[in-house]
Homo-oligomer: 419 residues x 2
Amino acid sequence: MRLSQSFARTTKTISADEQSLNAKLLIQAGFIHKEMAGVYSYLPLGYRVLENIKQIVREEMNALGAQELAMSALQPQENWQATGRWDDELVDIWFKTELKNGQNIGLGWSHEEPMLLLAGKVAQSYRDLPIAVYQMQNKFRNELRSKSGIMRGREFLMKDMYHFARNLEELEAFYTRVQEAYFKVFERVGLKKLTFLTYASGGAFTDFSHEFQCLAESGEDTIYIDRSKKLAVNEEVYTDEVLNSLGLKKEELEQAKASEIGNIFNFKTTKAEQMGICFTDEQGRRQPMFLSSYGIGVSRLMGVIAELFNDDKGLIFPLSVAPATIYMIAIGGKETIKVSEKLYNTLTERGVAVIYDDRAVRPGEKFADADLMGIPYRVVLNDSTSASGRYEVKGRTESEPKHMDLKALIELSTSAMVK
Amino acid sequence: MRLSQSFARTTKTISADEQSLNAKLLIQAGFIHKEMAGVYSYLPLGYRVLENIKQIVREEMNALGAQELAMSALQPQENWQATGRWDDELVDIWFKTELKNGQNIGLGWSHEEPMLLLAGKVAQSYRDLPIAVYQMQNKFRNELRSKSGIMRGREFLMKDMYHFARNLEELEAFYTRVQEAYFKVFERVGLKKLTFLTYASGGAFTDFSHEFQCLAESGEDTIYIDRSKKLAVNEEVYTDEVLNSLGLKKEELEQAKASEIGNIFNFKTTKAEQMGICFTDEQGRRQPMFLSSYGIGVSRLMGVIAELFNDDKGLIFPLSVAPATIYMIAIGGKETIKVSEKLYNTLTERGVAVIYDDRAVRPGEKFADADLMGIPYRVVLNDSTSASGRYEVKGRTESEPKHMDLKALIELSTSAMVK
C-alpha cells in the first residue's frame, strides 16, 4: 500500500483519558480509533493485524476438525432463562435492549446457551457426536470499568469454540487437544514463552477451569507460576489445598501479573441438564450432552502483543501478525523514485505486503513512522543504493542496516512471510 | 467435508411462523438457524455461502482502491446528535441500551456519522483526499416487522463503503465507478440480469438516491422498469415530473416487485457541515468534506439468491457462491468406497470444495439432500462406475447425468471454481 493514499495517520496527540499503553501505541501508529471507553474501531492497518491473528486461530481450530459458523449477537431472553444466566445478578455484564413490541433481548457476551440449543437440533443422535464448532465474532460486555485499551473491551473480537460430546472421555480427549492447539496459536503470534496454563476457579461446574495467562505488567490477573513445570495458579484458587492437589510447592512459585488470553470451561452435562438438551444413544436412550467451551480473545491478543512488544520508538510486531513485512522509504531523485516504484511492484507481485511511504514529508518523519508502526523490515533507497542495486535493509530491532541485492531481499521477505 | 462429521442437518420440519421462502429453503438445507424473528445464525454451510459473497464484494471494493476496516457496533449518543439522527423520530430503527453509568449508547444501523468523525481526524489536508474505506459488519435495525427471512433482518451483514472527497467532481467520478463495480458484483453472484439501477428518493440531500433493485416477487419495493434502458424508478418518486426529468415514458414502464440489494447516497457537504468536519484546501482554507456512502446487503444477497434460484427440490446455487462445487455420493461395496475416498482426497487436494455424503442413510435421502442444498454438481459412484473409472456427473438443473473420467471431472470442477 502507498501511504499517501492510505487511510492511516500517525499521531502524537493522544486523548488524556487514554490510560493504557497498548491503546496509546496503537492509536499513535494509526491502527485503532477510540469511539468511547472500551470501544475501539480498527483502521486498515489495525484491521490487517486483527485479520492475521484471526487467520492463525482459524487454521489451528480447523486443524482440530472444528467448523466455523456465525451465531447472532442479538439474543432472545428465553434462550438464557433455563440456566439462570439471563439474570443480571448472575451475569452482570449484559447489554440489554428490546424490540418494538417490548420483547427483551440481550447482546451476546458468550454463546453456550444458544449453541447448545442449536446442537440439540443438529446433533440428535450419537452418530452426530462428538462435534466442535467455532466462530470469530464481536462480543459485547457491559464492563463497569474499561481502562485497559483493547485488552478489555466492551465490544471485542473473540474466538469461541464449543464441543459437544457423548461422554466425559470424548470431552477430555478434545480438551487435551485444544490445549495443544492453543499453545500453537500462542507460539505463532510470539507469546508462547510468556504464556502459562493456569488453574482457575471452575465455578459450579468442575474443580478447575483452565486459563492461558500471558505474563504482562498491565494484566488484570495475579497468578503464581512454577517456571520449571510451566504451570500457574490463579490467585482465586491459591490455597494450600489446591497447591497440594496440583503437586505445587508454595516456595517454588513466583507471583506475577498476567493477562488471560484464552480459557477453557468444562461444563460436563450441567447445562444440557438445565436446558434439556439430549441426544439418543446407541440403546435409544435420551442422554444429556457433554459441553465444553474454549475462548481466545482475538483483539485482546493484539492488545497484549502491542503491550509487550515495543520500545521507546513504538511498536515491534512479530512477523506473523504485522500488517506489512516491509516499510519502504525512498530518499533521492527521479532515478531513485523509479527504482523504488519498480521494487514496490516486484515485491507486491510476489505477495509481500509492503507499506511504501511515498508521502511528501521529511525523511526523518518517515523513519519515525516506520518505527512507530513496528513494521519488521525497513528498506531505504537513495541515490547511492539505486546506483549500486543494493538496498539498505534494517530489522525493526536491529541497530545497523545490512545491504542486500534484490534477490536476497526477496528471499528475506518471502521466507519471512511463510513463518 | 464429510457430511457424517458435519454440523449440518437437513430438515423437513420448519416452524409454522417462518413465512419467507428464502428462510424456509435455507433452514431445510441446514444453512441457517432462526434465533428469533429477523435474527438468524449461519451454520457452517450457510457461513461458507456468506463468505463467498463477502469475498466477491471485497475483491470489487479493493479494485476501486477502497480500504477495509472495522468500526464498532456500539455507538455513543454524542456522535449522532449534530445530524439529529440520534432522535427516534428521525431514525426509528435504533436499538438503544446504556452503560452501567447510565451513558446512552446505540447499536450501529449505519456508520456515516462515526466514519465522518474518523475521516476528519485521518484526512485533515487536501493531500489526504479523495479516499474510500469500507467494512463488512453486522448492522442492527429494530424493524417493526421482520417476515422476509434473511432478506430483511434485525441483525444482518452489510458492506458499507464511505467516500470522502474535496469537491463534487471527485465525488461524482467515484459514484460512477461504484455503479460499475456494483454491477460486477451482481454479475458474479448471478443477479445482474435481474437488477436495475433505480431512482429513488434522495431525502433532504439530493434529487435522487440510487438503488440497485433486483426483481423478486417477494421483494418489499415496487418499482417501474424500462427494460430497454435498464433503468427503473421507485414508486416513491414515480411522478410525471420525475419521469420527464429522466426521459422515461409512463407507457413504456412495467410495474414490478423488487428487493433493494444495494444503494448509493450522495450527501454532498450536508453532513460535514452539520458536524463541522473540514479539511484544509490548497489555499489553507477550511472546507467541508463531500461524503457519499455505498451499501450492499450481503446477507440479503444470499436471501435473494435463495429466493430466486430454486425449484421444488430445493436450492440451486450459482457456482460462484455455492458452499461446495461437488456433492459426492457412493453407493456400493468396499471397492466403491475405496475409489470414493481416493476421489474425495484427489479433488480436495486440488482445492475443489466437496461435500462427501458418507452418512449411513439410504441413497434416496442422499440424492434428495444434494438437491435440497443446491450444490452445482452431483457425482455418483457405484460398483459399475468404480470398475469403469468413469463417474456419473449431473448438474443441479440437468435431468440426465453425463459420464466422465477423472481428468474431465477435475477439469470441470476446477474450471467451475475459477468462474
